[in-house]
Symmetry: C2
Subunit: 470 residues, 2 copies
């Protein structure tokens, strides 16, 4: 062993001992088998070999762990349910991965008032069940509900299908507890809907992707449960038309629940791979799914449907029928996976730009197919999205033998085009590793400088921002 | 003139010249008549003699003004509509008061999508009118709507009567433009409902009370207009009962618009001073006002009213009748002012503590009346509030000759009691000058240290936090 290797090992051993002293020996591990569990995200795209995994029990242990790592000069990456799509929770080589898995307390003492306090490691599904059992509803829902944790959802300001109704994760928060690398704990947990006592550290934590501190608990405002709903599946030409109808729905419906878009490509994949009976038949074009508490007549009036559309609209007012219509939207990710390993792009756009952006995307994909590379077959495109929020998820599946570098370029070009049209490189997935190199498209040097100073104020050692390759 | 006075004057003249170079000579003033307009808040309680008033036109001018003041070592206080209740917008002696009055641009290019971009100096009333004219509604309403400005409402995270429906000002924001004392401008103005690209400077600005930067524009998400509503005025014993009913309303009503409490004392003042025909008659007790889009039968069922209450409930379903019932709540401030100059306290409490807190308050006031000071008449107490949010506004009017120091003590004791019961020293009014000495009741030393570091990151010279006496 060379001298510097010996030193590295000695430092790692010292840190392990220090962390074991904080969380107990059984909650620190350098076992490669254990570490492997934390070393890849579920897309399989991002990888890293952490030196240690540590599982603190609460905010105090978390703060002590962070301070020990900061003193040792070792970077820390926080991991919740590991359901992120941008690699933010995957530890870089040699870093410490801090798992929130043991922080699973659920304080229901204020449930009567519609306030629930959850440890960072509690899953979304458990919060939803707890709220429902007490006659309330939680405002955010997403497909990864059985794995995604509250801490991660706060750190990433999670979105999903009900943003148009209740807002994003940030809108559900009435407080957060957060541990810092300075060893400090901030605790905005009075459980009050209104509490104007200076800048909100809760709101600063939300969307910070683990770069400022580690969220250890969150206090959630619950909502009344949704009543009986009407689901309409409306044929639309493109995302632009869908977005226009969605705006009418936002302005005219009293109880919007969801406004979701499925493009022609996504419909085709669902039909091809899942043998799903497409409620809109075999025709071309996309679909807008509208779910609302309004009666059918009111919904049709609010949407101002043209006769040619109104006749083709499919309607559901009972559970089985609602599920059939929703399947066309909900099963798209499954159908996409059958086609191949997808790239999942997440963009936000102003409503007026959605149609033009979609046209650009088709042209860009066709151009890729016309290339002279290893493959001349165009990648498969399937666009879905929370169109009521101006949010599209673009799925791109390359044909076998596709030039991955060409797809990398396609990704970057797509984000550039979204920004050129006044949109953003991330609606709800975040920046993470995947888009760090694109951040300057949406943040000025001045904003990046201000954000860096805030980062330094919260985490002076930069412990929570370890470098990782893209 | 002594040497140091000469130096002070020379510095003031140099700063005046510098500011005139930025905003134009006609938009800087050291005229005492002009300065007097900015030197007192509308309660008349807070006063200060600014050295200069400056009116920048946009973010760039604001940033340049702030940087010039920072270089000169002169503190700056931002003033919008000057409708605050805690003295935060009143300049300390010798400081510069920065008025947002000229920043009145209104960008309606995205109004079709329900997005409105307003300069900091635009009034709430103008935003409401603009939204309504385009078939939308703005989510915040408060009595000072003709004076209160959007910039001030962002900086204070304004509340009001519709928080239970649409959330506070923070929930209406999809972006903010802010000028810093470093000369930097941050501009989160893409107008997107979703834009997860790092920590939100917009949300950090909201509620910062002008201590981090100057908000120069805000981008607002509009909502569908409220439909026809039912108003119920329900007799209640106390704030605790009102709060319980309010929680039922939050859980059971599909379209809650407002949940407001008026206590027995407030009702009595309205009857005495305004000769208002009390809809609940001359009886004792308080009232809960429920406004919702639900039908009457659904509302009564959701509230689970006991028979003795249900019979006494007053109901309105047309405009004139709605206004009559609302008058009992809306005219309380006017009635209170007829009684004398009030102290207006603003507290937030957990629902379960509202009843006990109110009892404590009555006992504490009675104790003051039983004192051996200049007056042995107890102050008059009138409690109203946004009880659906756990927010009470406590009005205290001392009898002629009351010992003001005793009322100061009463104020502090009231806030201490709120905190002892798990509540906060400010629901929606903020901290400002009035409650700076109480901040340690709700913020730990660690939190204050973190907030100070964030303050330093945004405003390294402390220019936006000039010292003022309480």
């Amino acid at each position: 062993m060379r001298g510097d290797e010996q030193q590295t090992h000695a430092r790692a051993a010292a840190l392990t001992t220090a962390l074991a002293g904080i969380v107990g020996g059984s909650h620190v591990s350098d076992d490669p088998t254990v570490l492997a569990r934390y070393g890849t995200d579920w897309t399989g795209r991002w990888r890293g070999r952490a030196a240690l995994a540590v599982l603190p029990l609460d905010a105090e242990q978390t703060a002590a762990v962070l301070a020990a790592c900061a003193r040792a000069g070792v970077g820390v990456v926080t991991q919740g349910g590991n359901t992120g799509l941008v690699g933010a929770a995957v530890p870089p080589d040699g870093s410490v991965v801090l798992s929130t898995a043991r922080m699973t307390t659920l304080d229901t003492s204020r449930l009567g008032d519609g306030v629930l306090t959850a440890g960072a490691g509690v899953t979304l599904a458990e919060v939803q069940r707890t709220a429902a059992a007490a006659g309330w509803s939680f405002g955010v829902d997403l497909a990864a509900r059985d794995s995604a944790t509250i801490g991660g959802m706060v750190a990433t300001n999670a979105g999903g299908v009900h943003v148009v109704r209740h807002g994003m994760m940030r809108a559900q928060l009435i407080g957060v507890e957060m541990a810092l690398t300075t060893g400090e704990v901030v605790r905005e947990l009075r459980g009050l809907d209104k509490d104007n006592t200076g800048p909100s550290l809760t709101q600063l934590a939300c969307g910070s992707e683990g770069t400022l501190g580690v969220v250890t608990r969150a206090q959630l405002r619950l909502h009344r449960p949704t009543g009986a709903t009407t689901v309409l599946l409306v044929p639309v030409d493109d995302a632009g038309t869908a977005a226009e109808l969605a705006t009418r729905a936002r302005r005219g419906l009293t109880g919007v629940v969801a406004l979701e878009y499925v493009d022609e490509g996504a419909r085709a994949l669902v039909r091809r791979h899942l043998q799903l009976d497409d409620p809109l038949g075999e025709g071309l074009g996309g679909a807008l799914l509208v779910e609302c508490e309004d009666e059918l007549e009111a919904a049709v009036a609010a949407l101002g449907l043209e006769p040619r559309h109104a006749n083709a609209v499919r309607v559901a007012t009972d559970d089985a029928a609602r599920r059939r219509l929703w399947a066309l939207r909900e099963r798209v990710p499954e159908a996409v996976n059958r086609q191949g390993v997808p790239r999942k792009l997440d963009v936000a756009l102003p409503v007026a730009e959605l149609g033009g952006f979609e046209l650009w995307l088709h042209a860009r994909i066709a151009h890729l197919g016309a290339g002279t590379g290893a493959s001349t077959t165009a990648p498969t495109l399937a666009v879905i999205g929370h169109v009521g929020d101006g949010n599209l998820h673009v799925n791109v599946v390359g044909p076998p033998g596709v030039d991955e570098a060409a797809l990398d370029l396609l990704e970057d070009d797509t984000y550039r085009e979204a920004v050129r049209r006044g949109g953003s490189i991330s609606a709800e997935h975040g920046v993470g590793r995947a888009k760090a190199h694109l951040l300057a498209l949406v943040r000025t040097p001045q904003e990046l400088a201000v954000l860096a100073r805030i980062g330094h104020a919260m985490d002076p050692t930069g412990t929570l921002r370890p470098r990782a390759s893209r």
